[in-house]
Each structure stands twice: as structure tokens, then as C-alpha cells.
Symmetry: C2
Subunit: 391 residues, 2 copies
Amino acid sequence: MNELIGQPVISKRVSEIPKSAIHEMTRLSKQIEDVAFLSWAKPTSDTPEHIKQAASSAILEGKVGGYSEPGGLIQLREAVVKKLNKYNKIDASPQEVVVTVGAIEGLAAAIMSVVDPGDEVIIPVPGYSTHIRQVQLASGKPVCVPTIEQEGFKLDLDKIENSITEKTRAIMYSDPNNPTGSVYSLDELTHLAEIAKKHNLIVITDEAYEYFTYDNSPHLSIASLPGMKDRVISVFTFTKTYAMTGWRIGYLHAVTDLVNQIKKAHIPMAICAPVVSQYAALAALNNSQECVDIFRNHYLKTRNLMCERLDKLTDIFSYIRPAGSYLMFPKIRGERGEDSISFAKNLLNQAGVSTTPGIAFQGESHLRMSFCVPEQMINKAFDRMEKYFKI
Amino acid sequence: MNELIGQPVISKRVSEIPKSAIHEMTRLSKQIEDVAFLSWAKPTSDTPEHIKQAASSAILEGKVGGYSEPGGLIQLREAVVKKLNKYNKIDASPQEVVVTVGAIEGLAAAIMSVVDPGDEVIIPVPGYSTHIRQVQLASGKPVCVPTIEQEGFKLDLDKIENSITEKTRAIMYSDPNNPTGSVYSLDELTHLAEIAKKHNLIVITDEAYEYFTYDNSPHLSIASLPGMKDRVISVFTFTKTYAMTGWRIGYLHAVTDLVNQIKKAHIPMAICAPVVSQYAALAALNNSQECVDIFRNHYLKTRNLMCERLDKLTDIFSYIRPAGSYLMFPKIRGERGEDSISFAKNLLNQAGVSTTPGIAFQGESHLRMSFCVPEQMINKAFDRMEKYFKI
């Protein structure tokens, strides 16, 4: 045993964080030849050409060598403001925007600026595992509140309100949801906003999948609801919208007083977002959004295909048709669902299909499957599963 | 007053962090026309051409769109290992390396993995203000221990040992030092290593300026000393070495057990470092290091020039000739040094010279001046100061 791994030197905060099941499945998947890979929320398409060209030009023109302002390039924040006003109906200004290292760093900075050790953050689950870890990293306490699966993983607003204590500082969620693909309705968000106001809570949103909703389920930003702007930290990213996950570029919006505090966490974690990626993001915002429509149409098609294929496996899985994101969260029927890690490992090792066990999202008895992949990948995975389950 | 700014919603950790004096001076400097800018540790040279070309090619070849492994591209970690073995004499392997968002994110992840709320970290001062903030962000307590200015800002090893309590978890420093430019000797580091071993402490280093030492002052990595590898988290960056501050790309080294814990902080803060910058860094390591020699020679020349010009202002400043980095930390003589913020603001507003007040580095009565600028910038600044101080 290494003497370092005792209490004296490793912090409790990290030792309490479990190893990432998402990255563990990726690691195991790499050991399997010709795997059918449905386990990462990483689009298989490359970043659109015009964005790549703009980033390349910015490099060669000598624009990206030095730090930007910590909050980000002013021209990027101005473009973000236009998008926030138009798409999210958030009345924003450039000094209310911080450009971040993907949504992740923005969420981490938001949590750090709101949570002190022992403070509680309510997270509806199934939910994105990294949110839970970010609260743990702040030595805070994630309070996981189940959603209502049979109603499409709807927010359980009574349970949320009943979970509030003196220690509760914030409610944090992703919408469209990772991993369930649910999209919260105006009614749910209005009710949630009332709870936040009544109990003086901050709301931290992860709106990474904002452009990917289907079946006329509009994406709504809770910061656009009356009286909410002052208490919402809205976090967005370019990485999902424009297939730019490797570029690590996102942004957050909050009122100036709050942003000034968030920057005090942002600077010691990043100084500023990568400048080359800021120029790429600027090109993404300032050009035609046709590429986003193309991605959305593709994901709609692959979602429908995945649902069709799941319909042939009704003995094994039940599922809620996702209204957003490029993820879904089928439930494993019966006893075999009791241990989603073993189920996912067997599926990987015996059928060559990589998925993510639901327990990673506080949703035991489920699997997360990504449909941000080509159709043939979905067909390959389900052909194998049909054979494996002897359908 | 905004109701948000009370105790219930802003964390104590961020409210206790003062506004960054470095970024505040940058902001104020932008309001002054034709300012002589000596206040940021940001090289004015652009990133070398071959690095820019390699990054541009990686983009156009479709290599940078998706996430890398959280630890970084394997080929980059392999190149880093070669450099660590050769230059730093650290016996490393790829699984002991995490590629980070500049040194900053690596340092933040290191602190998070070692410090729990209330734990203490010893920081020799004057020291880099961001280290202090990173400890505060972890709800830890920075314990600032003065160095010995008259002996070239040498470590005060007795004071360091006397500052250790039951709560002490780590010692954190930059070497070459930001802001003093001091370079720690083998004797100092050997003694520091003994203290760390005796009291079972982690050492966290910030070796951002490792390639910029002068006058035969070699840079030494404390992780290379006997028995130290197990308890050192060594943090490095490409951004200073290759004039790449905007690319946000660095790395850390620690033994595997420790690295596995640090990754649990790295993932919720960043997921992975920007992939385009990882390809740029790979090109930086795998090509001629002549550009580094050119930067070093330039900084040696500008250091010498800055010292010569300070020699004409001996009524105003005394100084220690920096043996490393591209920063120096002259002391303001007499009463006028008692408030370095007012001194720096007057210098900015009345002489058009931008510097950083020493108090930002826990070194009141000093100014930090950067010499990573063209010679004419130094001459312009000092011409103005001579006129302003009526020399």
C-alpha cells in the first residue's frame, strides 16, 4: 500500500467521488475489437468546415497566442448576447456573460460561487453524474430527488420542495436532460421558479442540448421567466450544438453582481477559455445556423431508429421516448436490471455493445444510450443485442 | 442593494477572495491611451510559426472536434514523459501525466485533491496570488510565510517548518518564482524536501517558468530529489515556454495513485484540455527547441535592460536581480511604498506606466514588472518614470 492514500494527504472530497463510470466504460470499450459504441455523449460528426476554417485563420493571423480577458473576447460576448436575447429570451448584456472551458467549467465555477462546505444542492435524478461530482468537489452535499419516470421523467415538484432545508442553496439540472432526454415544460419550470423564489434559492441550469428538441417540445430557459434573471445561472455550450466537444468552449449568463463573484472562481480554475476556441465559437454564432438544423434532423432520425429498434426488445427494455438531447435512458426489465454495471459489462463483453450503466446517473436499472452516432452504428448495436438476447 | 449578495446565496469561499488586482490593473490600463504596459505575465511575442501550422493542420484534418481521453492524448503524454525524464530528471510514465487547461487548472485540481475545508497550505510569499485564491476556493487556509528578501527572496525554511500545524496538508510554490524571479537552489529544495517528508506533506509546484533562468541558475524539480516523487505534484505549462498563454494548455505529473485522485477533480472542472491546443503542444515538444532559446535570450536582454534602467532610479526603487522567470519585484523605497495600490495607480494615471501592486502577491511596498515585452516598451516605461520622478 502506498502511504499517500491515507486520510492525511488525499482530500475527503475527492476520495468520496467514485471513479467515473462513463470513462471506465470508455476504457473497457477500447479493449473490445469493433465495438458498437453508444456510450459517450460525443457527436461522431466533425466540427463544421466553416468553423474549422475560421479557427485556422485566427491562428495563422496571430490572434490566439495571448490570453483574452478572463470573461472572454468582447466580440464573442456580444454575439452571445444576441443569441441569448433571441433564442433564450434572456435579456442579457456582455458584462453578464463569462466564456468558459465548455459548460463544465462554467458549472463548476457556478457551484463554487454558491456552495460552501456542507451546503446542499438539489439535483433531480436520473441526472448528469458530473453535476453531482461538482457539488462534492465543493464539499457540498448533493440531494438527489427522483423524477417521475412514468410521466416522462417529469420533475417531482412536491418532492423537490419537501427536500429543501436550511442548508439548501441551489437547484441544479440539465434541460434537455442528460441522461433521460426529457424536456421540462413551461408549467414545470414556472412551478420550479416559484419554489426557488419562495425559498431564496439559486437555480443553476445546464442547457447543453438546448437546440436538440423534437416533436414540438420547445426548449425554455428558466432565466427568461418573470423575476428569475436575478437568481439563475444559465450555462450553455458550443460543444454539443456545433459538434465541438474537443474545443472546450461554452459560456454562462447571470446578473452582474453574481457574475463578478463567479469570475473569482473562474480565474483560478482557467484564467480564460482557450482563445482559438473562442474564435471558432464566434464563427459558429456569426454564420448560418444550417449546420445545427442538419445535426437536429440527423438526431431526430437516429432517435426514431433507436426507438424502433427498442420496440423489438420489449422483453428486455421499456423506455420513454426522449423529447430532447441525443441520449435516452431505457429501463432494464426484471431482475437483470438490478445491477446495471454488470448488465452493461456483460453487454460489452458478450455482445460487443458499449452503453453506460444507469447507476452512474443515479438511475439504477437503466442504461444510457447515445444516438449522436451514424444509423449503421445503431443498427449494428441492436442487431447484436437481438442476437445476444435471442430475439 | 441586490438581495442576492447576502450570505444565503454567495459562498463564503468566493466572497472572501478579493477582486484580482492583476485584472483590475489591466482594466484600468485599457482606459489610458498609449500605456507602457509592464503588468501582465503574457509574452508579447506570438506563438512560433511551426506550432501554429501544426494546430491549423490538426483542425483541418478533423483531429480536434471530439474530446480526448480526460488525461490527454496518449502521444502528447508520451512526449511529455520524454521531456520530464530528460529535462526535469523525473522518472515518469504516461499514466502519471494529466494534460490540463494551462498550469492553472492543474494546480486547482491538485489543491482540490489534497485540501479539505479548513486544511492549511503553506505558501512562501511574495507568491503568485492565484495560488492563494486556489486554496481559498477549496475552502482551505493559505498560510503565507515570508521569504528572505535581502538574500534574494530565499525560502525561510525555519519559518516554514514552524508554520506547520496538524492542519497542514501541503506546501505550494512557484519556481522560478512569480513575482520575484527567484530560483530555488538545490540546498533550499533538499531542505524543503526533508521538511515535507518529516511532516508527511504534499508539495505542489508551479514550474511555469522552468526554461527561463539566467546567470547559471539551473532550474530544479523537487520531484527529482530522492524519495520525493511519491509526494510531489509537479505542474508545468506550455503557455510560458512557447508563448502560448491563449491556448490554455499545461500538464501535471504525480504518481499513479495520486493522479487517479487528481483526475476526479480534473474531469468535473474541464473534462479534458482543449484538443487543438494538445496538438499545438505536441508540435512544440516534438520539434526544435530553438524558439525557447530565442525567447530565453530575449528575456535575458530585457531583464538586463530593466535592471540598468532601475539602477537610475535608486532613490525610488531597490531590487533583487531576478535569476529566473520574466518578472521582477522591485521594492518601493520609503513611505510612498506603504500603499502599493495607490503607488501603482498614480504611476498609471500620471506617468502612463502599468505595473502590478505588490500587495496582490502578499508583498506590500513592491511592484511587479514584467520584462516579457519588447525593449522599446521597457525604455518607454522608464523614460516616463524618470520624468515622473524628476530624475
